[in-house]
């Protein structure tokens, strides 16, 4: 009975959208088979980027082809993959309008369009020096370009700067700084290179306990920390970062993290999204605050959790259950706790691990992982191996939407020094 068929539309085929498509396709396999439900995933291109891998491109540890696979291949055959640009969402008519005029009606809409860097939000960023000495390494193009520039950089000021929060993977710029220290030591030019870490925050990281440990690591590695620096403009020709309160930091090479926004179509969707294009989302149920038949997951939301793949993974289990309950006309009973879990690469084949949620700060201790305890907030080689093994886990367990053994959806206090 096609008239009673119900449509689940997922916007975005990145980490969060792909996990949701795989989970829902498994749950609704019999319904998909008889046509009682259909699932569509919309994305504007067919390049699924393993984003944690972008960190390693500037250091020649990965190539571009190591981090890209076709989006369609990560989805089950029972899901329709629609490659198109989203023009807008008509939330009154429950309709997604695509560029070119095609329309998709939905019973449930899942917004998983992530976040993107917006260099043009900052005066001068994409002006002189862009892709020559100023690189947005949160994109494949920028990370690859920066890799070429790093390979021939032998002396001068390398500046790593965060323009504004929130950003994807808030620990990545710190990892970049740690790896840069290691990289230039390997190349024998560390003494001719100064490394500075420039952040709008009042400390090295957003969470106090972790910020202290990370600031100590920066100091140990001879990396200068510049805090409360809100970048107002960039003068690429003169090699200067200029803050809104008119302080300056000089650079010869700038690894910049631009302002992040939600997807373009969400920037013009008041009610649905905030001024930066992030979907106004209930932090516990992941339901839109605007319409009950809309949900959001991953970097696309405005919930106060990290914008990180681990968060999308943990949210997915909650959201799957809530979508199922919503379609069944039942109240939503599953809640997300803000759980995030990140390896922090610190160079010299070591890494830290942090584990936290909405309420609990990252602390020291150990993480009771299935293959053995990983130390929390402390450098170890096992953590580094965990980080490097994660690429395999990402493509083969995380995207297909399987639970990772030993890594529960809700944060556990076991092993934490509280």
């Amino acid at each position: 009975m096609p008239s009673s068929r119900r449509h689940i539309v997922i916007l975005g085929g990145g980490t969060a959208g792909t996990i949701m498509a795989n989970r829902l396709a498994r749950h609704y396999a019999p319904d998909l088979e008889v046509g009682a439900i259909d699932i569509s995933v919309v994305d504007e291109n067919d390049r699924h980027i393993y984003q944690p891998g972008l960190l390693f491109l500037p250091f020649g540890m990965y190539d571009a082809e190591d981090v890209v696979k076709p989006r369609g291949e990560q989805l089950p055959p029972t899901v329709h993959y629609v490659q198109a640009t989203i023009a807008h969402v008509d939330t009154d008519a429950a309709l997604v309008v695509l560029e070119g005029g095609r329309q998709l009606t939905y019973d449930v809409l899942i917004i998983a369009t992530g976040t993107r860097t917006a260099p043009d939000e900052t005066e001068g960023m994409s002006g002189p020096g862009w892709q020559e000495r100023v690189f947005d390494w949160y994109t494949l193009e920028g990370a690859s370009g920066l890799g070429k520039a790093m390979a021939t950089f032998n002396r001068g000021n390398l500046v790593i700067s965060i323009t504004d929060m929130p950003i994807k993977c808030p620990v990545a710029p710190l990892e970049f700084a740690f790896l840069a220290d290691w990289y230039f030591q390997q190349r024998g030019v560390r003494e001719q290179v100064t490394i500075s870490y420039v952040t709008p925050l009042d400390a090295a990281f957003t969470k106090p306990a972790a910020a202290q440990a990370l600031a100590h690591l920066l100091e140990e590695k001879g990396i200068q920390l510049v805090t409360e620096f809100a970048t107002g403009s960039i003068d690429g020709a003169a090699g200067k970062l200029i803050s809104f309160d008119e302080r300056e930091v000089a650079f010869d090479l700038l690894a910049v993290v631009p302002v992040h926004t939600g997807a373009t179509f969400l920037l013009k969707a008041p009610g649905l999204a905030n001024a930066m294009g992030f979907v106004k989302t209930d932090p516990a149920t992941l339901q839109s605050k605007h319409r009950p038949n809309i949900f959001a997951i991953g970097d696309a939301t405005d919930v106060p959790a990290s914008k990180a793949g681990s968060v999308a993974h943990f949210e997915a289990e909650v959201l799957e259950q809530n979508v199922i309950q919503f379609l069944a006309g039942e109240p939503l009973t599953n809640t997300f706790d803000g759980h995030a879990n990140c390896f922090i690469e610190t160079g010299f084949h070591k890494a830290l691990l942090i584990d936290f949620n909405y309420e609990t700060e990252p602390v020291t201790g150990h993480f009771p992982f299935s293959v053995g305890p990983l130390s929390l907030l402390k450098e170890s080689r096992l953590n580094h191996l965990g980080k490097m093994a994660f690429k395999y886990v990402y493509w083969h367990a995380l995207l297909p939407g399987y639970d990772i053994p030993g890594v529960p959806t809700h944060m556990s206090l076991a092993g934490k020094d509280l």
């Binding site: 504004d164 929060m165 107002g232 809104f244 309160d245 001024a275 106004k280 959790a305 990290s306």
Partner: protein, 105 residues
């Protein structure tokens, strides 16, 4: 957590000096907190930002970010830094009696 008296009222504050209960706030308390944080006089431009921020928090439960303020309050980001030096979103939140913005993790 601590208490402090602003404009003759005893207020519960968090570790960083943000009001625990936004309902306790009055404009006079705002002026007193501003003075204690290096802003002796609140101008009309300050008040545009403070009212916008407080109303946004009261209606949505979350404070806008600096860039959100710059786009929606009518006061450009550069001016926000002149009005509320160093961290405009944090300082304005403290003065208008709402919790520390947690939009950034």
């Amino acid at each position: 957590m601590s208490t402090n008296s602003y404009a003759g009222v005893d207020l519960a504050l968090d570790g960083e000096g943000f009001l625990q209960d936004p309902a306790q706030w009055t404009p006079q308390i705002g002026e007193a907190i501003a003075a204690a944080n290096g802003i002796p006089v609140l101008t009309d431009r300050h008040w545009i930002v403070l009212h916008f921020m407080r109303n946004t928090f009261l209606s949505t439960g979350d404070a806008p970010s600096i860039r959100g303020l710059g786009k929606e309050s009518g006061v450009p980001v550069k001016e926000l830094y002149q009005l509320f030096p160093k961290g405009p979103a944090k300082l304005a939140a403290k003065i208008c009696g709402i919790p520390k913005p947690h939009g950034c993790i």
